[in-house]
């Protein structure tokens, strides 16, 4: 028996692993101390737990534990990294390079800095979602202080050539930062082999709790500093003040440890499941995979079902929790900017569904999802005037539409 609805939106958030909750529980109640309390046992116990978690997280990403700065999540980490680097290094230059398919936390932090005098280059992506390394190199100047390119994309799962990007950034004396929210705990990420100087990630995308995340800040070769964006008691080596979220941090640590131990098996199992889901759905006429098939996260598939609209489709996939690049609910009616950046036409972007598998996704659930998705697409195509016109051989690009 499978229980409905089925959760296939693990790129939005993951359920917390029960083992993570078990680790956290005592730190809400009996071990409630403030890790900054230096003069009694309650504080020591909390501090010890935080240090232990720092080690667990550092081990997952190949870092030193002193390089982990705890935050409230990846959005805060992105902001701290980008704004903090700009403020710290603006004497060296004011140029930042990022990419059009980044998360809004990165794009909007960059936009904020543009108002403060930063010059930002937003690199385009190719139709497979990857940036062009030649374009990156051509954009580098002696004023470039930071290159910020995400590890794995949240909508299409595409994994950028991180090592190569880092090498180009370093060749021109810039720092390399990556939003690795979707990648850490899912695929092998190593800050040293990858050449990462700053890296943002979050607990709730890796089976840990919401409201806690981290920023990796390199301490050696080079020693990186960021100007604090939240002032106060000088926690986290002065880079992020505020009483530490001890239970959250313990949870993030435990989640990181579980990912380190189980990620490889999980990835193998999930990519096989994802491939099954994907190939079954792509058997349908006029369905298209969005983003690179080769360079991507193991658990994500983003597929457009032409001639049906995503939101209507999700309504027919009533037992599946997925997400769509269509945005019929927003006032703007603008479809996903990420899909548009790949060069997808608006109608294909409106027809997209993102499937995000996770640690707790089962074979039976995927089989059910395949069946219900196919039924839903067929049902809506029966209702779709566009499908009928396509079947009648009418070229939809030549129809004069009455836009509203």
């Amino acid at each position: 028996m499978i229980s409905l609805p089925i959760y296939l939106d693990n790129n939005a958030t993951t359920p917390m692993d029960p083992r993570v909750l078990d680790a956290m529980m005592p730190y809400f109640t009996t071990k409630f101390g403030n890790s900054a309390s230096r003069n009694h046992a309650f504080g020591w116990v909390a501090e010890e737990a935080v240090d232990y978690a720092r080690g667990q997280i550092a081990q997952l990403i190949g870092a030193n534990e002193k390089e982990i700065i705890f935050t409230s999540g990846a959005t805060e980490s992105d902001n701290l990294a980008i704004k903090g680097v700009f403020e710290m290094y603006h004497d060296k230059g004011n140029h930042i390079i990022t990419c059009v398919t980044e998360h809004k936390a990165v794009l909007d932090a960059c936009k904020h800095l543009e108002r403060l005098g930063a010059k930002v280059t937003y690199l385009p992506v190719q139709s497979n979602g990857l940036i062009d390394l030649k374009q990156l190199e051509a954009a580098m100047t002696d004023k470039t202080i930071l290159v910020s390119i995400m590890y794995g994309n949240n909508e299409i799962g595409v994994v950028q050539p991180i090592k190569e990007i880092a090498a180009i950034a370093h060749k021109y004396g810039a720092l390399f930062m990556t939003d690795a929210t979707q990648a850490v705990g899912k695929i092998q990420v190593d800050v040293n082999t990858d050449g990462i100087d700053l890296m943002a990630f979050s607990g709730h995308k890796m089976y840990g709790p919401k409201g806690v995340g981290a920023l990796y800040v390199r301490r050696k070769n080079p020693r990186v500093k960021v100007t604090a964006q939240i002032d106060g008691g000088g926690h986290e080596r002065g880079m992020r003040s505020g009483t530490l979220n001890v239970p959250g941090i313990v949870g993030l640590g435990k989640a990181a440890e579980l990912c380190r131990l189980e990620m490889e098996q999980d990835a193998k199992r999930l990519s096989a499941l994802r491939d099954r889901l994907e190939s079954s759905l792509l058997e349908m006429e006029e369905s298209y995979l969005n983003g690179s098939k080769e360079h991507r996260l193991p658990h994500t598939a983003n597929i457009s079902f032409k001639y049906v609209e995503g939101e209507g489709l999700m309504m027919a996939m009533r037992d599946l929790a997925v997400s769509s690049g269509s945005a019929c609910t927003s006032a703007s009616l603008e479809p996903s900017y990420v899909l548009k950046c790949l060069g997808l036409s608006d109608d294909l972007a409106h027809s997209s569904i993102r499937f995000g598998l996770g640690r707790f996704t089962t074979d039976e659930e995927v089989d059910f999802a395949i069946k219900q998705t196919k039924e839903a697409v067929n049902h809506l195509r029966e209702l779709s005037p566009l499908w009928e016109m396509f079947k009648d051989g009418i070229d939809l690009d030549k129809v004069k539409w009455v836009e509203h």
Binding site: Y307, V308, E309, E311, G312, M315, A316, S326, A327, C328, T329, S330, A331, L333, P335, S345, D346, D347, H350, E382, L383, S384, P385, L386, W387, E388, L396, W401, V402, E403, H404
Partner: protein
């Protein structure tokens, strides 16, 4: 955002899905919206010699509310004269389906589709197309 029961009912059991022969003189066809906007409605009416709508069919590419709006429109059209049908207002659809503000455009599209279908029929049969007040 949760859908109203009526939207879910029309979405799950859409009324009058189908196609009438657009080349027939007694059939009016309205095709409104655009694929890049995320919704396209095609609404068709069949009209008798007394200008009474005897049949109505639709097909819609769009969200649940767009599908429900057009399904409801076909129900309302049947049995009405084309003049009475011209008076259907998008806010009647909003009210009947309890559409939230972000979905009002779906009802506007349905009203536009009704008017386009009636005008197509009128022009085919030697009558003047009627101007409609614009919502946009």
């Amino acid at each position: 955002m949760a859908y109203s029961d009526k939207v879910i009912d029309h979405y799950t059991h859409p009324r009058n899905v189908g196609t009438l022969n657009k080349d027939n003189n007694n059939v009016g066809t309205g095709l409104v919206g655009a694929p890049e906007c995320g919704d396209v409605m095609r609404l068709q009416i069949q009209v008798d010699e007394n200008h009474i709508i005897t049949d109505a069919k639709f097909k819609t590419f769009g969200c649940g509310s767009a599908i429900a709006s057009s399904s409801l429109a076909t129900e309302w059209l049947k049995g009405k004269t084309i003049d009475d049908a011209m008076a259907i207002d998008n806010m009647d659809i909003v009210e009947e389906l309890a559409l939230p503000p972000v979905k009002i455009h779906c009802s506007v599209l349905a009203e536009d589709a009704i008017k386009a279908a009636i005008n197509d029929y009128r022009v085919k049969n030697g009558m003047q197309a009627l101007e409609s007040e614009s919502h946009h």
